[in-house]
Point group: C2
Chain length 414, copies 2
């Protein structure tokens, strides 16, 4: 299989790949406790079993009244109302008020029968133990929250495929929904291959480098809700790679292989992936830098991604291809809003037409706008990323960017 025969556009490749993956996979679900559900994705729509609030509440501290008893009230001509009691927090308002009566009430308290508004405390004055003056008229239902105003019975609380944040979790708990069905976490097999790779604990000898990808990619997988299955380091050997991929296939929903660097290693990595099932390799080579030698494949319903061996390239490709695939495998109905920042670039950048570039950059807060100050250097290794706040995107149709232009920066959060 000759390499880079047809480099394709990264955005197009991603779109097509996500489509193929989402059509091929079958999602499984499990029931979990709502309080553990942050970051998970709803497997079924959740419908409100009743309305919230369950009773008419006060939105203010003050007096529950009949609005019509306050009409025309002002500082110079206050309304006089008789105070018939107090609604205690958490208690059912058992007394009902009659004409020209009021009850003391607190924020969140239950409105008594016949009351249809709340006068704020600061617009009243207690003139005797059982009498107030009201200095401002209120309209019907002013300063109240009506039953069902937050959510109505039958409304969709959570759509299928919606990711649960803490606010969604809170919304479920408010409705007493303490368990729910979510999609299973995708298990992501991760393989690092290369004769030069040794574990981080090893003493370095000349020619060797320590494994970084297993750990950075595992962290990235975890950050978007996947469950990493690190397989470890495989030497540049086709038989061992094949066996490792077959082993991972039985326990993974997605397989990531950071390929050996030699030409022959890249060749047989592609061959091993291609053997794993149909349709096999869909994309081999992307018009992006870093990350040209990326492989996107689908084998027997399991997506397989061949990542570059270089840790920086592997991380950038994982951000743009592995993350969205994991979101798809989690059953999300749409990709999350990306964490990007528009910033003014401090220097000129060159780029090759037809190729998308990602350039590590610092982000500096400035008076009016943020500044993007690219990190240069021939070395494209992991420490360049560790110094960066984000990556500047240079679109394929640009041959360069001039200083002071506004660029899109993707923030590196994890």
């Amino acid at each position: 299989m000759p390499e880079f025969l047809s480099l394709i556009s990264p955005a197009k490749a991603r779109e097509n790949f996500l489509k193929v993956v989402s059509e091929a996979i079958e999602l499984k679900s499990e029931k979990i406790s709502t309080v553990e559900s942050v970051g998970r994705v709803a497997a079924k729509p959740i419908i409100a079993p009743y309305s919230l609030p369950t009773f008419n509440r006060s939105a203010m501290d003050g007096y529950a009244v009949r609005a019509e008893d306050t009409y025309g009230a002002s500082e110079s001509l206050p309304a006089f109302l008789k105070v018939v009691g107090e609604v205690k927090m958490g208690e059912t308002a058992s007394i009902e008020i009659s004409n020209l009566e009021a009850m003391m009430i607190h924020t969140g308290g239950m409105l008594p029968q016949n009351a249809n508004a709340v006068v704020m405390l600061e617009h009243t004055q207690r003139i005797s133990p059982a009498e107030i003056e009201v200095y401002k008229s209120v309209s019907a239902w002013e300063n109240t929250i009506l039953q069902g105003e937050e959510i109505l019975v039958g409304e969709t609380v959570l759509a299928e495929g919606q990711r649960i944040r803490s606010v969604e979790m809170g919304g479920l708990l408010a409705l007493g929904i303490t368990q729910l069905e979510v999609f299973r976490k995708p298990r992501v097999g991760i393989l690092s291959s290369g004769d030069e790779i040794v574990s981080p604990e090893s003493e370095l000898v000349a020619g060797k480098v320590r494994d970084v990808n297993t750990y950075t990619i595992s962290a990235l997988v975890r950050s978007c809700g996947g469950e990493p299955i690190p397989y470890g380091i495989i030497p540049d050997d086709e038989l061992q790679l094949r066996q490792a991929v077959i082993n991972l296939k039985s326990q993974s929903d997605l397989i990531l292989i950071s390929a050996g660097s030699s030409l022959s290693a890249r060749d047989y990595t592609a061959r091993v992936i291609q053997e794993q099932g149909l349709p096999g390799i869909l994309v081999h080579g992307l018009n992006t830098r870093p990350g040209k030698p990326t492989i996107l494949a689908l084998c027997d319903q399991i997506p397989v991604i061949g990542l570059p061996g270089n840790p920086l390239s592997a991380y950038v490709i994982a951000s743009h291809f592995v993350k969205p695939v994991i979101y798809t495998l989690e059953g999300m109905n749409s990709q999350p809003i990306p964490n990007i920042r528009m910033a003014k670039i401090t220097v000129n950048l060159n780029s090759q037409a037809g190729r998308e570039d990602w350039v590590p950059t610092k982000i500096i807060p400035s008076n009016e706008r943020w500044l993007a100050d690219p990190i240069f250097g021939k070395s494209n290794m992991i420490h360049a990323l560790a110094r960066a706040d984000g990556l500047i995107w240079v679109p394929e149709d640009r041959t360069g960017i001039s200083a002071d232009e506004t660029v899109t920066v993707e923030l590196i959060e994890t």
Copy 2:
């Protein structure tokens, strides 16, 4: 203690509070494994123990050469070089090359002695088993990564107070640093108070609402690296609140109290906080909506924050005050870059001069720019946030925002 006597600016309040907190606290550290360090904060600077790469490497697949042997080479007038071997991945290049000699080399391979450049494979042709033609000249050190080019011995890899992302973790592992000293996770005591509050498992009766704050605030604390200690629900009772706060004080680095809604509950909550130590309450009441009744205090070196009881208000105040305090307690040397988005607002918004507003909004991708489509409704409860992608910021000096203006939206991620 009369309430809202002096409402102060939220930005000013936050700045002052963070300063007071960071001056008061004493950070403790612990040693952990580097692979578990993502999200933690370095307690000591980490200095590179040696340079990386540890040897001169090839940045391409091709042939290691002496650059001077290729000078003047072109398609029509190629240079002829003798191939004296191949540098295997992960092996020390033991042979050295002489004048007019080349060695096959792979990306990441170790440069042999005397070689000072790499000719890319596509600019060569093998004309016999031991001879190549070179069609393009290379300059000295072209297509190589020199020893120390990634990081030099003695360089700072990680500053004290720097948060570790997966890329920093990878950088440490590349240097063989498998353990490091990080600041301890702040323990955050969380109290929900109010006679109307019942647990999420409870059947609802009129007048009661289920506890949401304990869970949403715990999730938010966890998302920024804190360790939540949920204390549970306390009724509107000064003695019980005092005992709970005293209990939490012995095991927390930060205490959060979502206060009861009644005036008297808010009064004694402030009193209980004030009793816990000097300097006590620093801010009581903020010019922000939601979140006016916020309390910021420091008692015996422990920050205490009084949150509004309403779940939406509690969440918004926690995002703007609890999060930055947690980052400070983690020892971060600067606050993280906020996840904000500039967007075009779809409708007019009214606001009160002198007050900052946060309005829940959808974010809609549009052709040119993102659109912010506010979520309206009198109800300011948790389901309004669950429908929102973010919060529109209306600065204090604005009395409103017109449709089509560009606004700042803070994304709700967790």
